[in-house]
């Protein structure tokens, strides 16, 4: 059935539009395109990539339309009012009181992430036209990429948890398919499996959490809001009502957060992300930096009221989310220092930035974290695509910075330029976009009282600057080394990226043509690669101004459009305005008249009438002094790292070279980092093996002894029974009966044969004897 949440209120008539009403089309277009690519792709002139790019452009258009109409909607609403999301459902399944549907739930967060996903998917698909030209599974790559986009877009517009899980799982599947795109090499397929299993471990939490929340919330949501316990807005309002028991919502929140840990690469389930770099670079830039890995962050942001109450955010003490986020920032940043593979550096950087987002969410800094999703997508995708550009055109498909790169700024100016812009954005330098998002996270974390984690964030900023400087230096400065210098490498010297070095894939047939290519030397890539880089770098530069808090509240557009107001609303979505029209928002933590706004009770108390859709959050006011301090820290990191790089790599200063071998402490630290804190050893060799081995041994024993025993036993028993039956019943009884009748007949015959002796006398005797007896009988009977 078709049900629509009404937002046409008597007081507040919110504007809607065609794109908003039909935002569900956004995932449908790539989904249809996926099927078209699968069925018709190989026959098309461009091998199916036409469908992919066209569908992503279509989604982008729809997402853009929806975003525009959402902005109109927010702008048309009174200041501070709760702008209800555009929700539609069609019932998919209902049985014995439980029903869930499929539909859309479009609000600011949805629209922002839709734009990001559609936009970056489009750019990555265009990039892949050049990057994967001639690949052995070109069509399937585009199919998987399109399906991924469909899955993520579906998850973003999901109206209920079941639909969200559907999108989540599609993304996991496509991640597996895409990481293992060159599965002929064992390392790639192992990496794909590792990614899948690790995220799967987290997904246990997703299902458990959904179930816990459903069973706790369903009664309240059906009664108060008329939606099932799967519905997202139902769960959000339920969490902020007084209804949930503390245990239920905490367990649900923890379970869902475990899923987010797995998907977003938080400690301790972060080990799969660096290995996922075995996939092609477009995959790394789309899935594993800007879109899929933020799905966990998106989940937390989407169901924020659940986490807000369940983890007791803004409650004063550290909670699970903020701790995990904080740990992740630091350990990933440290690991980025010892990587020689440029993609792995970027992977750990992604993990670290995801830690920032989680920490922000855990500390009540909802908007900065979501904004960081937005900006991080652009500059991280740009960095990855830049790395791909380098490997494609200069280092002959190698990603080894120390071995095959160096001094490339002269040869690849566009790549270099976009890389630098994106790095600056990543480090959070003013006025690049990262400044407006990452620094806001750190600021708000401190503002909300989590001072320790603020320092953790600042330390992370220092480390980020340092390792990015190292990576930049090794790649673009110094002298060209290895493949960049034109040296021809053996195939086996490439590690997990050996798959890239498939000359046949790229239309080169023999080594002679390869040498001809090599003699060209490192050069800039074609426009299909550089134009996306330029677009992304421009966004890395400018997207921060969407929420430019330093310049005043008027520039805080992102916040206005995306952050839900913490008003108390009546269940049909009409706002109860507390304390006068337009006065339900608060800009600072003190419930004062400082800005003339009163505080909403959402998040802290149970609303008496109506429901809450979002909790009341605090926003730190911007101070240039704080900004200056974080800039100094970044500068310090940059300078220190530059110094060490020059000493170590350029001048080969004896004091630095081989330092980790000489110094015991540094050597231990280095070994720990190179072995990724031995976490992989723990997971694979200890945990998995100790569980899998006994299970497999037990199952093998069961198979051999019990199952085979049963089968063999059945066989022997049958044989024994058959033999016994044969000997005793068949031979003795049955044959005996048969033979017996024969011998009886024979015996009777032999016994009776003398009667027919042929002797007349005897016949006469018999005759008269019988007559005598007959006569006697007659006589006796009749007397």
């Amino acid at each position: 059935m078709f049900a629509e949440a009404t937002e046409a209120a008597t007081e507040v008539a919110l504007k809607s539009g065609w794109f908003l009403e039909h935002a569900w089309v956004v995932p449908v277009i790539p989904a249809l395109s996926f099927f078209l690519i699968i069925f018709f792709g190989k026959r098309m002139p461009k091998k199916g990539s036409e469908f992919g790019v066209a569908s992503m452009l279509g989604s982008l258009v729809f997402a853009g339309g929806a975003a525009y109409q959402w902005i109109q909607r927010v702008n048309g609403a009174p200041e501070g009012a709760f702008v209800s999301p555009v929700v539609k459902t069609w019932t998919w399944w209902q049985n014995s009181g439980i029903s869930f549907g499929i539909g859309q739930h479009v609000d600011g967060l949805t629209v922002a992430i839709l734009l990001v996903v559609a936009f970056i998917s489009t750019l990555v698909q265009i990039y892949s036209l050049e990057y994967l030209r001639g690949d052995r599974r070109y069509t399937h790559f585009f199919a998987s990429l399109t399906l991924f986009s469909a899955g993520m877009l579906n998850m973003v517009v999901a109206e209920n948890m079941i639909q969200l899980i559907l999108g989540w799982e599609i993304m996991g599947l496509c991640s597996f398919l895409l990481i293992g795109h060159w599965w002929e090499e064992g390392a790639n397929s192992r990496a794909a499996l590792k990614a899948f299993f690790t995220t799967r471990t987290g997904d246990i939490g997703l299902l458990t959490g959904t179930a816990i929340l459903f069973f706790s919330a369903n009664e309240w949501t059906t009664k108060t809001l008329g939606v099932s316990g799967f519905s997202i807005r139902g769960l959000s309002s339920w969490a902020l009502s007084g209804d949930p028991g503390h245990a239920a919502i905490t367990m649900g929140a923890i379970a869902l957060f475990i899923a987010a840990i797995g998907k977003s690469g938080q400690f301790p389930l972060h080990t799969w992300l660096p290995d996922a770099m075995a996939g092609p670079t477009p995959v790394s830039s789309l899935l594993h930096s800007s879109t899929m890995v933020v799905a966990g962050v998106f989940l937390v942001a989407r169901l924020y009221p659940v986490f807000f109450k369940g983890m007791d955010i803004l409650g004063g003490s550290a909670n699970f989310i903020v701790v995990i986020g904080g740990i992740t920032i630091v350990i990933a940043a440290l690991l980025a220092f010892v990587q020689t593979d440029i993609k792995k550096v970027l992977a750990y950087s992604t993990v670290s930035q995801l830690g920032y987002m989680m920490m922000g969410l855990g500390a009540g800094a909802w908007l900065p974290a979501v904004f960081h999703i937005f900006t991080h997508a652009f500059f991280k995708a740009c960095l990855f695509l830049g790395a791909g550009s380098i490997s494609h055109s200069s280092s002959h498909h190698s990603f080894e910075m120390k071995k095959d790169m160096g001094g490339l700024r002269k040869f690849m100016p566009i790549t270099f330029g976009t890389w630098i812009i994106s790095t600056l954005a990543l480090c959070g330098v003013f006025p690049f976009s990262g400044f407006f998002s990452k620094d806001e996270i750190i600021d708000n974390v401190g503002h909300n009282g989590y001072n320790v984690f603020m320092y953790v964030g600042l330390a992370g900023a220092f480390l980020t600057a340092a390792y990015m400087t190292r990576a930049t230096y090794l790649t673009f400065f110094g002298q060209p080394r290895g493949a960049s210098a034109g040296e021809h490498h053996e195939e086996e010297s490439h590690d997990s990226h050996a798959a890239h070095d498939d000359h046949a894939d790229h239309g080169h047939n023999a080594h002679d043509s390869h040498d001809a290519h090599a003699s060209q030397g490192p050069h800039e890539s074609g426009w299909l690669i550089t134009v996306p880089l330029i677009i992304l770098a421009t966004l890395a530069l400018s997207s921060g101004f969407l929420n430019a808090l330093p310049f005043g509240e008027k520039f805080e557009n992102f916040k206005k459009w995306v952050e839900p107001s913490a008003e108390v609303v009546n269940p049909t979505g009409i706002a109860y305005v507390v304390g006068g029209v337009g006065e339900a928002r608060i800009a600072s933590e003190t419930p004062t008249e400082e800005s003339g706004h009163s505080k909403s009770p959402c998040g802290t108390e149970t609303p008496e009438q109506g429901v809450c859709a979002a909790p009341q959050l605090n926003h730190a006011p911007f101070k240039w002094s704080k900004a200056a301090m974080s800039m100094l820290i970044v500068l310090a990191g940059f300078l220190l790292s530059l110094f060490v790089c020059i000493q170590l790599y350029e001048k080969k200063n004896k004091k630095f070279v081989g330092l980790t071998e000489r110094n015991k402490v540094l050597g231990f630290g280095y070994k720990l980092l190179v072995n990724k804190y031995y976490l992989d050893v723990l997971y694979e060799k200890i945990i998995v093996r100790s569980i899998a081995h006994p299970i497999s041994a037990a199952v093998y024993w069961f198979n051999q002894k019990v199952l085979d025993g049963v089968v063999n036993g059945a066989g022997t028993t049958a044989k024994g029974i058959a033999g016994w039956v044969y000997r005793n019943i068949d031979q003795r009884v049955v044959d005996g009966a048969v033979n017996g009748t024969g011998s009886v007949a024979q015996g009777a015959g032999s016994a009776l044969r003398p009667v027919q002796s042929g002797k007349v006398n005897q016949y006469g005797a018999l005759l008269f004897g019988a007559a005598a007896i007959g006569a006697l009988v007659l006589v006796i009977v009749n007397t």
Binding site: A765, A771, V779
Partner: protein, 170 residues
């Protein structure tokens, strides 16, 4: 004769004849001389004829003597002669299982005796039985029993032809 129930002469006559007949019959079946058996049979047949007279069946008696003793016994003796029967006693004229004949005969006699006794317990012959004349008998033969008479003539013819066919040498 005496007009009394007890016809003494016939009874005595019957008793003597019966004794002679029974002894003769016994000798027929037990003697070990074939010729003697034939002669004893003659005795039996003669006794039977005498009995017929007692039973006021004179024509039958004469016929018995003529046919049976006169023809049949001659036939028997011829047969004995032609089959080289030993003149004198022979050792074994009884077959292997001769013993079974005794119980059979006795059982049969017992059955018949009981039946006769219970059936005709003390019935007497009518005292005024008239002797059957030849004319009456011929009236019967050529009257009601004509058909059997003709059949009988055929039987005799067949017997003669059959005997010749069987016994001729070729």
């Amino acid at each position: 004769m005496f007009a009394s129930d007890v016809l003494v002469a016939q009874n005595i006559g019957f008793a003597i004849l019966a004794t002679i007949m029974v002894i003769g019959a016994l000798r027929v079946v037990t003697t070990s001389n074939v010729v003697h058996a034939a002669l004893w049979l003659v005795v039996v047949l003669a006794g039977a004829a005498a009995q017929y007279v007692l039973l006021a069946a004179e024509f039958v008696a004469i016929t018995q003597v003529l046919v049976y003793i006169g023809a049949v016994m001659v036939l028997f003796l011829f047969g004995t002669m032609l089959t080289r029967a030993r003149i004198g006693a022979e050792s074994d004229l009884n077959n292997k299982n001769w013993f079974f004949g005794i119980p059979v005969a006795i059982a049969l006699f017992v059955a018949m005796a009981i039946a006769l006794d219970s059936g005709f317990g003390s019935q007497k012959m009518p005292a005024d039985a008239a002797v059957a004349t030849t004319q009456e008998i011929s009236d019967q033969i050529f009257g009601p029993y004509l058909l059997p008479f003709w059949a009988l003539s055929f039987v005799l013819l067949a017997a003669v032809v059959g005997a010749i066919v069987l016994a001729r040498r070729d």
